[in-house]
Symmetry: C2
Subunit: 523 residues, 2 copies
């Protein structure tokens, strides 16, 4: 199943990304205005066939057609309650914890509020409203900002004092030093990924090794920058194992086709696959990148999200340094985000990349590209520093902070297990463990009749299933075709993020739907 050549796999991948024509009768995204809808594209100076083909090629299923349809259903529920067999839309399509009711970490928000309105720090009432260590931290942060100006553009890489705190946090995590000059603060991890793709990709002849399944930011960014996605398949039968033999095979195959493979993307913990890579595996990967002279792009945004006792997160930098490899041995970029972890501050758009192993002159180019956009948002920068340097034992807020943090993480672990078990109980469904991250990626062994029914409406079978699930239950999941999968297999990605008290009802709805679906299409 996994012997597809690069080109063919790519075609198949793209094919499956594209094989879902609109199922709804409303082909427009909900945002298109009436005026736009009435316009004839061909008559416009910007007809569809005149725009950048890289934009046309790019796909992003996490907010694709199924979500647009869900938004329409939500509007219908609001305007006409009772019009559907469910009362609310449950957005399990995207890792967006606070949209489903998760509360922000109090300490983080106290500090952000104080930094947004520093005159509060001079008022006596403030001490009744904020914890003492949040006040102290806000002062500390303001003192690190030139002129205490939280409304000023910062250094293009982010405020130096905040980068210092982040570097200290990385060093404490890894046991190896980190350099604040290696940190580039960004508006979430996505712009950082784009920056690296922009740097590395010159043409279609440049390839980026990406896991399949993958988070579609990678396929989208590679498409937008005109490169080639070189897929390597994770082994579902070994819990989405990442095998060096597969990397080697795909690398050689791509090279034999004239592709210059520049980089390897690894997502650990995995998205959409939820596996946590073992230390030995990480070492093999580092060795592979070093030997093959690849840039290791390490998506480590789920580093705090580990749900099983026998696995822990190890950063690639820690592993590389523990092997004795330094800057001169391999270029390594680690992406981190404030959107994930126990805090899930998606709306704040904070994040950073730690860039090591690049020459000074190439770093200067990265700095230049960062400068064109001036800087990332300061609240996101502050939050990134808090995430990497949270309250410590002894701080006034520590106990309440730790209670909030462990409460969220242990609840996520229970939710992951409950949903994993539920999927595994469904007929024809197998689901690996969510060891980490925020997702389950169950495999659907669909009956032939269901596949034919999907083909009849020109939909991918998993898109057909997801659409049926949404229409019957209000649960939004993303078809596996949006992430890539071994051709002929079908999956969905479902977040573990609905609040815990809703999980039993979700499972009941899922079970009832699935039973009816199988009944309808049983061979």
């Amino acid at each position: 199943m996994r012997r597809f050549a690069t080109e063919r796999a790519k075609r198949l991948l793209l094919g499956s990304f594209r094989s879902s024509p609109p199922l709804s009768s409303v082909p427009l995204c909900s945002s298109a205005s009436a005026a736009a809808a009435a316009m004839d594209s061909a008559a416009s100076p910007v007809a569809l066939d005149t725009i950048n083909p890289k934009v046309l090629k790019c796909e992003y299923a996490v907010r694709g057609e199924i979500v647009t349809h869900a938004q329409r259903l939500q509007q219908e529920l609001q305007s006409k309650p009772g019009s559907h067999p469910f009362e609310e839309i449950l957005y399990c399509n995207i890792g967006n914890p606070q949209s489903l009711g998760q509360q922000p970490i109090t300490f983080f928000r106290e500090v952000l509020a104080l930094c947004d309105h520093p005159p509060l720090l001079d008022k006596s009432e403030t001490h009744a409203l904020f914890s003492a260590d949040a006040i102290a931290r806000a002062w500390q942060i303001l003192d690190a900002i030139p002129g205490r100006a939280t409304g000023a553009y910062s250094h293009s890489q982010g405020i130096k004092g905040l980068r210092d705190a982040i570097a200290d946090g990385i060093a404490a995590r890894d046991g190896f030093p980190a350099n604040p000059d290696d940190i580039f603060l960004t508006d979430g991890a996505s712009p950082a990924v784009h920056m690296m793709m922009q740097l590395l990709i010159r043409s279609q002849k440049d390839g980026i090794l990406c896991p399949i399944p993958q988070y579609p930011l990678y396929s989208a960014s590679i498409a937008l920058h005109g490169g080639s996605l070189v897929p390597y398949y994770l082994n579902e039968s070994t819990g989405w194992g990442l095998e060096i033999s597969e990397l080697k095979k795909q690398l050689e195959d791509a090279r034999s086709k004239g592709i210059t493979v520049r980089s390897l993307v690894v997502i650990n913990p995995g998205n959409p696959t939820g596996q946590v890579l073992a230390e030995e595996n990480l070492k093999e990967i580092v060795e592979f990148c070093k030997n093959e002279r690849l840039v290791l792009l390490a998506d480590e945004v789920y580093q705090e999200n580990i749900y099983v006792d026998d696995k822990k997160f190890n950063s690639f930098k820690k592993i590389a340094r523990s092997m004795g490899y330094g800057d001169e041995d391999l270029p390594l970029v680690s992406f981190q985000s404030v959107s994930k972890g126990y805090h899930g501050e998606c709306g704040k758009r904070g994040g950073y990349m730690e860039v090591t192993g690049f020459s000074a002159e190439v770093r200067e180019q990265i700095y230049k590209v960062a400068s064109v956009n001036l800087c990332s948002n300061i609240s996101g920068q502050i939050l990134a520093s808090l995430v990497m340097n949270p309250p410590k034992v002894g701080d006034e807020s520590y106990e309440s902070f730790d209670a909030e943090k462990t409460g969220i993480l242990s609840s996520l672990a229970r939710r992951a297990k409950a949903l994993e078990d539920a999927f595994n109980r469904l007929e024809g469904v197998t689901c690996n463990k969510a060891e980490g991250a925020m997702y389950l990626f169950p495999r659907l062994h669909l009956p032939k009749k269901a596949i034919e029914a999907a083909e009849a409406v020109k939909a991918a079978p998993d898109a057909f299933y997801a659409r049926r699930l949404l229409d019957a239950t209000g649960i939004v999941v993303v078809p596996g075709s949006g992430f890539g999968q071994v051709p002929g297999t079908w999956h969905v990605r479902c977040t573990i993020l609905p609040q815990e008290d809703k999980i039993p009802a979700i499972i009941s709805r899922l079970e009832a739907f699935h039973e009816a679906f199988m009944e309808e299409f049983r061979d």
Copy 2:
């Protein structure tokens, strides 16, 4: 002077962008780590000659070499006070008001702080710390956010309720309706400009008409997306007039070379040139774009920054609608930012683009690209809604808000005039009025000896002047070569943003430096 063919002008432009090799003996940006500095690029898997040539080509002078040098001087001043003939670096290179001491608008920051930490809204002490209408506005905003979740990813275009407020603000400004579905909230204006360039540019054969001088975001973005900048020169002798005859000439010239010109960029009020375009001129431009089937990209981020009584800001949308032109007549995108205006909230990275006149299917592509990055930061979204819907007469905060706003704007007007007069008093310097925006762009008629001295160190003459100015006074300005200028002319861009009490000393330092410079190089 302005008869340069597109290709030649482009070459000259790029030539002048590039003609400034490092003047300092430290070729690395200050951010390069020691490890990176020690690395040999050629030995790295990512040697400089293996990165994307579009990245190499891109230049962004506003944070270019002169700023890197200034940062180094600042460090030297800190570590060794008295080591330079000035006590502080005055960053007049970038429109970053709060970095120079401008205070944020109280009402805006109150609302942001409350939205960052909504539990404050339930506390009695809060009423002693925040104005009643800030509290009311925070509730109103929270109620517009699904689940009141300020930490959730929003709709890819931004929170609907905030887009409603922005659309209302646009309608009130223009007297013509605005559609919230046309608004795309972005992290400042820069990502919005990139999105449009990404959409429109397919190859080097696609051209974008840009003013010269221009804000270098445009040249950088066109370079990064691999298109051709088609320059049109603003007429310095008529106060940086935008002449339709020049647009036509450059358009025809580009077309004769096989360039498909897709779009016209207009920056109004002008950056770096400070002019405010007259209503009749705007009408001609709209007519030109309609007839020539160009997308009008309207950089209107300085719409609040007008300093002369006989000029007012008119949006292109208002002008187009007042001419009877609707969506079907021309594609028009207006960029707005929270970084400029009287508020100058650069660090918040808020902004929006209003996208009109595109077909539904092309808008869907814009929506898709916005979705890949999920959403812009929520604080920036909130701030954009506040900027377009500030306190009104009768609101509790109105008087203090209005005092802050008019205080800043009238001070900016006085500073603009004082610096303009000062430049015009300098020997061999002529300076147009800053009718709006935040910059002066004086022309330097440099002595032949100075030009030769610059050539001797392989610097552009205005870069040579700017470097000398920095070394003598600590004042950071950007050489005109970074914005483009009629070949053979030399300018610098200087912001009007230093605090008012510092302006006399700045002028004295500038005058003393200029006198000594002219004395040294007089022909």
